[in-house]
């Protein structure tokens, strides 16, 4: 087991990619704490033997409260996976201020909030791992996703800065940039858009949440102990 007894916090872990990460970590022996706004899905997570915490990553105070609770329950936090994220797509001329703010608040500020609180906890222990789920869209852009691409590029900035700030405390920080992964986030896209995307994927299939989870596992484990500050794509070759 690669993560035996590692206390692992996964935001947005109630479904999709986060859920796949949570379940794989659970299998690998981690003490999994899933933080999400979806209370119904959190109940399912608890039935599988993981711990669920209701948390909106937008609110720093709430993050402080929940992470302190986790420290009380499990004595520390070893791994933080910043995975909670949403899309609110629109062309810039049609995009509302609310759509911009909401995506930035969850995808970018959420990562700041959780990393801030967790790094304080990890610094005391002089060890820890933070993994941020960015997106290839943060690297290459995409029409209709000005808010999302800005948030995901911002996450890469956070990753590189924190890798430098926290390396002296033995805390590694890396980002993953998935391509097209089959979740409810991508389910909503029209068929013709999906087909066009498929043409641009050399491996000729969409990714599964488990494809991302396996990389998160590697980056969370000691097998990657010399890797920090990197952005690693898992996209079937979409961006080469």
């Amino acid at each position: 087991m690669l993560l035996k007894d590692k206390v692992s916090v996964i935001t947005g872990g109630a479904q999709g990619i986060g859920r796949a990460i949570a379940e794989l970590f659970h299998k690998e022996g981690a003490k999994v704490c899933v933080c999400d706004v979806d209370e119904e899905k959190l109940k399912e997570v608890e039935k599988e033997g993981m711990k669920g915490y209701k948390l909106d990553v937008r609110k720093l105070e709430e993050v402080e409260k929940v992470f302190n609770e986790i420290v009380k329950d499990f004595d520390g936090i070893d791994v933080l996976v910043n995975n909670a994220g949403i899309t609110r797509d629109n062309l810039i001329i049609r995009m509302s201020e609310e759509e911009w703010d909401l995506v930035i608040d969850i995808n970018l500020k959420g990562v700041f909030n959780c990393s801030k609180v967790a790094s304080k906890i990890m610094m005391k222990k002089r060890s820890g791992v933070i993994i941020n789920i960015s997106s290839i869209i943060g690297q290459i852009g995409n029409p209709g996703q000005v808010n999302y691409s800005a948030s995901k590029a911002g996450v890469i900035g956070i990753t590189k800065t924190l890798a430098k700030e926290l390396a002296g405390r033995n805390i590694r920080v890396n980002a993953i940039a998935p391509g097209f992964i089959k979740t409810r986030m991508t389910d909503v896209l029209p068929e013709d858009v999906k087909n066009r995307m498929l043409e641009n994927i050399p491996l000729k299939r969409f990714g599964e949440p488990s494809d991302v989870a396996e990389l998160v596992l590697f980056l969370a484990s000691d097998k990657s102990s010399y890797i920090t500050g990197q952005v690693i794509r898992v996209d079937g070759g979409m961006v080469i």
Binding site: K120, K124, E165, L166, G168, R169
Partner: protein, 82 residues
């Protein structure tokens, strides 16, 4: 609580946090120049003092606390002990 104990508690926090010998932790020892603290160490030290003495130290105040003696004076003043 006696004066001695605040000094001792401050010194202990510093020794634990920076991994220095207590003999180095003299009142005029400077955290950066004499005790080798980097910027993260300084933030952590302030956090450790806050925890040890149950107070909140603002960033502005923290920046002025650059020697062992200043910290001891500051904490005495804040906890109302001389």
């Amino acid at each position: 609580m006696t004066e001695q104990s605040i000094e001792e508690r401050v010194k202990k926090v510093i020794c634990d946090q920076l991994g220095v010998e207590s003999s180095q932790v003299t009142p005029d020892a400077h955290f950066v120049n004499d005790l080798g603290a980097d910027s993260l160490d300084q933030v952590e030290l302030v956090m450790a003092f806050e925890e040890e003495f149950g107070l909140e130290i603002s960033d502005e105040e923290a920046q002025k606390l650059d020697t062992v003696g200043k910290v001891i004076e500051y904490i005495k003043a804040r906890t109302g002990e001389s």
